[in-house]
């Protein structure tokens, strides 16, 4: 397994990722999967300013990620895969990428969403996706930084 973290975080590459997680798991590359960002060179350059010197970033569309991630998984290079939404991560799983666990680091308030943790708010669509992913054997676990307690979101949903 070369992808050491699959994470959903609206902020994508930011402090918790490049400090909290990267300093512990040591990725050599961060792959952001996002259809809009994959076509936006300016935004990509802004995200790249936050990278440690020895980590590179790729910005892939979902389609590109589905075709290229299997090779990343086979390589020796540790990588993070980031998406801004649970729906994008879910599309990867739906299109054949094998996920065992999804780390949820930040889904913030929005219309129809209810706050379940200070950094996670869920609406009906997110809840449906969590149920679907868990039924398919993918653990969906909220944890903003590695020292924080892991919270299985399906259990939080059920209360």
């Amino acid at each position: 397994m070369s992808v050491v973290l699959y994470r959903v975080d609206e902020r994508l590459i930011h402090g918790q990722v490049v400090v909290g997680w990267a300093r512990r798991l040591g990725p050599r590359r961060i792959i952001v999967v996002d259809d809009e960002l994959a076509a936006d060179a300016l935004e990509q350059s802004i995200y790249r300013t936050g990278l440690p010197a020895d980590v590179r970033a790729d910005f892939w569309s979902v389609e590109e990620a589905v075709s290229r991630l299997p090779a990343v998984e086979e390589s020796d290079e540790p990588a993070f895969v980031l998406t801004a939404s649970l729906s994008t991560m879910s599309r990867l799983a739906h299109d054949g990428i094998v996920l065992r666990e999804i780390n949820v680091g930040g889904i913030h308030r929005g219309e129809g969403r209810k706050r379940v943790l200070p950094y996670v708010s869920l609406g009906p669509e997110e809840q449906r996706l969590i149920d679907e992913l868990e039924r398919a054997g993918v653990r969906v676990v909220a944890r903003d930084v590695p020292t924080a307690p892991a919270v299985r979101l399906i259990e939080r949903e059920r209360g």
Binding site: G15, Q16, V19, G20, R23, V145, P146, T147, A148
Partner: protein, 128 residues
């Protein structure tokens, strides 16, 4: 994660705020503690810092991270250094310096101090 510990010493609520920000990006910190000089004279500030190191330091390499050299915080830190209570004092503490302080691995204390300053200095910049 490390055998080192430190006290962040700064004016007003800066130390507390810096550690709060550090914990947001790097997770909970058990080996760093904030001290404010608010309402404290020089001797009292010295005693507060020394008390924390004695109580929580546990014999580890201890460091001070002060907001600026020359102010009352920096002066108290220099006195503690002169008295051999800490390995080194960092001046101009900011978030990048704290990140390096927590994560950087280096051989000796001297190498650690040098590398921490070099790396965090690179984080300071501006873009016109």
């Amino acid at each position: 994660m490390s055998e080192r510990c430190g006290v962040v010493v700064a004016h007003s609520r800066l130390a507390e705020g810096l550690l709060s920000a550090l914990e947001r990006v790097a997770g909970e910190q058990e080996n760093l503690w904030p001290v404010s000089n608010h309402g404290l004279g020089g001797d009292e500030l010295y005693e507060v810092i020394a008390g924390i190191l004695e109580e929580r330091g546990g014999g580890r390499d201890a460091y001070l991270l002060s907001d600026m050299d020359g102010g009352s915080c920096g002066q108290a830190c220099r006195r503690l250094l002169a008295d051999g209570r800490v390995r080194a004092v960092f001046f101009g503490v900011n978030l990048p310096l704290l990140v390096e302080f927590v994560f950087l691995q280096a051989g000796s204390a001297e190498e650690f101090v040098k590398a921490t300053v070099e790396k965090s200095r690179k984080a300071l910049g501006a873009r016109p």
